[in-house]
Symmetry: C2
Subunit: 586 residues, 2 copies
């Protein structure tokens, strides 16, 4: 009974990490969390508005999509510092997918966006409950890097029309740029001037603000936080300029009047039809969001010596997305930039996220009249400057040097994403990296071994001329686990090795590199054993690992084995070579 209760308590701690830290909460934590929350909120507000624009929904929805998710993540998330809310790539994916079903601005568009958030939330939660976090591993780093880089270019291209004050559209980079090209003559001078000035201001802040403030005598820490606030300063200045200068009358587009107050509760449309048509898309959004959030949470968790549980993160992100959907928002995930700031500002517990949500609440209740005059070109400027850091040429160069296959997977993902859109790009990349992996392991490295004279060591006869061999014994080492993708290779390789030698009596498979033998490979070994038997050749195994041997013992394979299982290649050689010598001398 006591044991059951301990297990139950651990389960509760795992599913509700808040149980762990809340009882220990104190004033010191409170002040640390509050400071971090203020800074995160000031960063979040312009980002939330901008990413809402990117997702193709009204700017204020970005605030809705920030509040409830942060509150819920406080209760269900396993990372102390992850800041959940709107994020660039996920917002782009949302816009791309929803545009396939309805025009931006329509009710149907909003319905699709909310359904995507809800389905993504459900999927993530279920994946967490069923402990399927490992599924996210199937996106290799180069594929993610290629996808994010291409997304960054598309995000940038999607914001250019706002920066220029024209309207254009498109799902792929080519379509966007073509559409933009034809719209160029309609460029609005005032919009471009305001947007361009914002871009320059943001770039300047990024480049010189920290060193400038330090030169003025501020501490390094304060200078860095001030630099983080450049976007909200830019927004404030630009809004003031627009309002004072009456720029709206010069054609500068502003966010416009929005309903003040809390979002009303929304019931997402989760009809069977909707689920079927959006299923794959929601899954892709979920996986990308999870992969991004996990890498942020793990990187920060490791700095703080905290363990992040992938399955609990799935639940945390899933519940957050459900929260976003029910408050009429779009899919959300952990944001790299805000999480880093949260960590650096000294957030002590997940409560800082809760407090940042309160900050957003205040913004929703008080700032909507100001937000109405916020020019969209400034939001576009914020997005454009922020995506620069997403372009990842380094990973490509590195992969190219390290392994061409990975570099090709990255390049293909990048091009497929640009050329066919985010969904096709991601699926193509994932499929390609699987294929490359299987191709690699389907033709494993192998070596025919000979004995280094006078030692117990055996080496590749192609690399070492001096090794001792025996016409009647072939020793072959396969440097890969045996499974369905290379089972046939093994059969072929052994067939052709045996076909080359006339007087062969023994074939020894050196198994030191074999970590696993699956059912297909076991069939192949049976087949090889059978064929060798019919040709009068004994089939031996050597240096079989413990776990592999345990499994083999559960089958009747060892009963049929023509030869024997030897502890080491050397003992196999001693016995078979010796035996041969004796046979010759008889």
């Amino acid at each position: 009974m006591a044991r059951n209760e301990v297990a139950k308590a651990q389960w509760i701690k795992r599913v509700f990490p808040i149980v762990e830290w809340l009882p220990k909460y104190n004033v010191r934590y409170l002040s640390d969390d509050a400071v971090a929350a203020v800074i995160v909120t000031l960063m979040l507000i312009p980002q939330a508005l901008a990413y809402a624009l990117l997702a193709g929904v009204p700017a204020v929805v970005g605030l809705y999509a920030s509040m409830l998710p942060m509150v819920l993540y406080t209760f269900f998330g396993s990372s102390t510092t992850l800041s959940v809310g709107p994020m660039a790539v996920v917002s782009l994916m949302t816009a791309t997918i929803a545009s396939q079903w309805a025009g931006q601005g329509s009710d149907e568009y909003m319905t699709v966006v909310i359904a995507l958030a809800a389905m993504s939330g459900l999927m993530l939660t279920l994946m967490g409950l069923f402990r399927l976090g490992f599924l996210a591993n199937f996106l290799s780093h180069p594929v993610i890097a290629g996808f994010i880089s291409a997304s960054a270019l598309m995000i940038g291209a999607s914001q250019l029309p706002h920066l220029l004050g024209v309207s254009s559209s498109g799902d792929t980079l080519f379509a966007m740029l073509t559409s933009l090209f034809y719209a160029l003559p309609g460029t609005n001078g005032a919009t471009l001037a305001l947007g361009g000035a914002s871009v320059l201001m943001l770039l300047a802040a990024r480049r010189w603000m920290v060193s400038g403030l330090v030169a003025l005598g501020f501490s390094n820490g304060i200078a860095r936080f001030a630099a983080r606030l450049a976007p909200i300063l830019t927004v404030a200045v630009a809004t003031l300029v627009t309002w004072v200068g009456q720029l709206e009358s010069y054609g500068v587009e502003v966010v416009g009047a929005v309903a003040s107050g809390l979002p009303s509760l929304v019931l997402p449309d989760l009809s069977m039809d909707r689920m079927q048509s959006l299923g794959v898309s929601a899954l892709l959004i979920s996986v990308v969001g999870f992969v991004e959030a996990m890498s942020v949470a793990q990187a920060l968790g490791s700095k703080r010596r905290e363990r992040v549980d992938p399955n609990q993160e799935l639940v945390g992100l899933g519940v957050s997305n459900l929260g976003s959907a029910f408050s009429g928002g779009f899919p959300v995930t952990g944001s790299l930039s805000r999480s880093v700031v949260n960590h650096e500002a000294g957030a002590a517990t997940p409560a800082s996220g809760f407090m940042a949500a309160l900050g957003v609440l205040v913004a929703i209740l008080t700032l909507t009249p100001v937000i109405a005059h916020l020019p969209t070109t400034v939001l576009a400027a914020i997005i454009i400057v922020s995506i620069i850091s997403l372009l990842d040429v380094h990973t490509f160069i590195r992969s190219w040097r390290y392994h061409r296959g990975d570099a090709v997977a990255m390049l293909v993902t990048f091009l497929a994403t640009l050329w066919q859109g985010v969904e096709v790009g991601l699926v193509t990349g994932a499929a390609l990296s699987l294929m490359l992996y299987l191709y690699r392991t389907s033709r494993p490295h192998y070596a025919v071994l000979g004995r280094m004279p006078g030692t117990e060591h055996f080496r590749n006869i192609e690399r070492f001329d001096e090794v001792e061999t025996d016409q009647s014994v072939i020793i072959v080492r396969i440097d890969e686990s045996l499974y369905f993708a290379n089972a046939r290779f093994l059969e072929e390789k052994i067939d052709s090795l045996c076909a080359q030698v006339d007087n062969l009596k023994h074939l020894v498979l050196a198994c030191q590199a074999i970590n696993m033998i699956d059912a297909s490979a076991l069939d192949s070994l049976e087949e090889i054993n059978q064929r060798l038997k019919e040709s009068g050749i004994e089939f031996h195994l050597a240096e079989v690992k413990g776990p592999v041997m345990d499994r083999l013992k559960e089958t009747d394979f060892l009963d049929h084995l023509g030869g024997r299982v030897h502890l080491s290649v050397y003992s196999a050689w001693e016995e078979l070579h010796q035996g041969q010598a004796n046979a010759n001398s008889n």
Copy 2:
């Protein structure tokens, strides 16, 4: 120049294996091949007619689909004994797919069937030329076994209506049996009697004919060949009975009048639309056909000490399917039963296939009046008896004992095929076995090592209590190559190992089981190295394999490495443990 010509000659031999054997052809080969060809032809005729029925096309098309393919395979195939032509599972797949596009008996149905053969031929040929034979490896043995077993049940169910003289339809086992159930009251007594008698005759021949003939004094070899001819004897007797007894007037369905003479040349419909709509289906037929043919060819090739080249087999089968398409036939592949007979009857060269094609030609030219009176119930009986051997319970039991995951993949493939049809079944099975493999390798076996006192050997501290450890040094061995699917696992595992120990100075990764490190895993190693550095822990590698080390040397990873690369775990231990001991004594 000379070298170029040698390479060219080898290339010609590879692409046209006939160049190898034709110059050596002699009278002895001719007589061997002729004997085998006669026996194969007599087996082939009833099979070809029956499988045509299964594919949903007129029986005589089965003969068309046998002739040209066998001729072409003689020139392009790499197996001496593989007998190409109609085959049960491929015929079932053809029927299932074509039925989705048109009703059996319509012109459109025939167009689809011919297009499938042509596309499958093109795909196989191209896969061979681009050396993509390895793709077939991705179907694991349990998945193939599950698919074939389910197909066998569906083939049997699809033939029951013919056996009973009723008409019914359906793509899945459930649909077939439901349809059959409602058709049962219309059972034709004469048809059932004739079909039932044929089934009994075939089963009896299979069971007792060999031993019976041997008991009568015939040699074992002759008895076995006679048993192979049971189907054609059954066909002959049943046709005679039908003709003499005028059974057609009792409602026994017969094949009916067919155009005598050679098939006219058909130009397959390979329009863009057709290619797009049938692409995936044709690929699945190609892969199943190839996998089946390859396993037959390899098994027989190994018995004859002949090497079968998978890529050349692809070309051989591809050209054969193109031949079938141009003579108005359906997709074909190597047949297990006929190939074994061809081998056992002593076929010496691929010319026996050419001669069997001549046999079929004679049948087409002379037998059509007889075939017209052949009752379809007898063909159904032949199919039903032949599929018994396709049901593979043995593999399931074996997989269940050896590895549950493989057994589950087999069961899911089996059920998905029965429940959703051949295409969904095959794709589900292949995807599932990939997932299972990735899941398995994404959570590799690992061990924390300690030193066996007084030796240079290191063992799992959980299995060996007596091993020596050091609070400041953790040695961990991962028993799997490092790649994207387990890169994150590695990070997590090392994070949690380090979080457990307070005074940790060194972490040694023992790499003897690591055959490959891909770009994702390299990123993870960098990340681990960085995190450990920040925590003041040195990250060491030990026993890195040559090829893995070669790759690592091409990156800057080793320059950043906090610790060092050690030749062996022992030398790492000696240095780090010793260093620690010295530090303590200072």
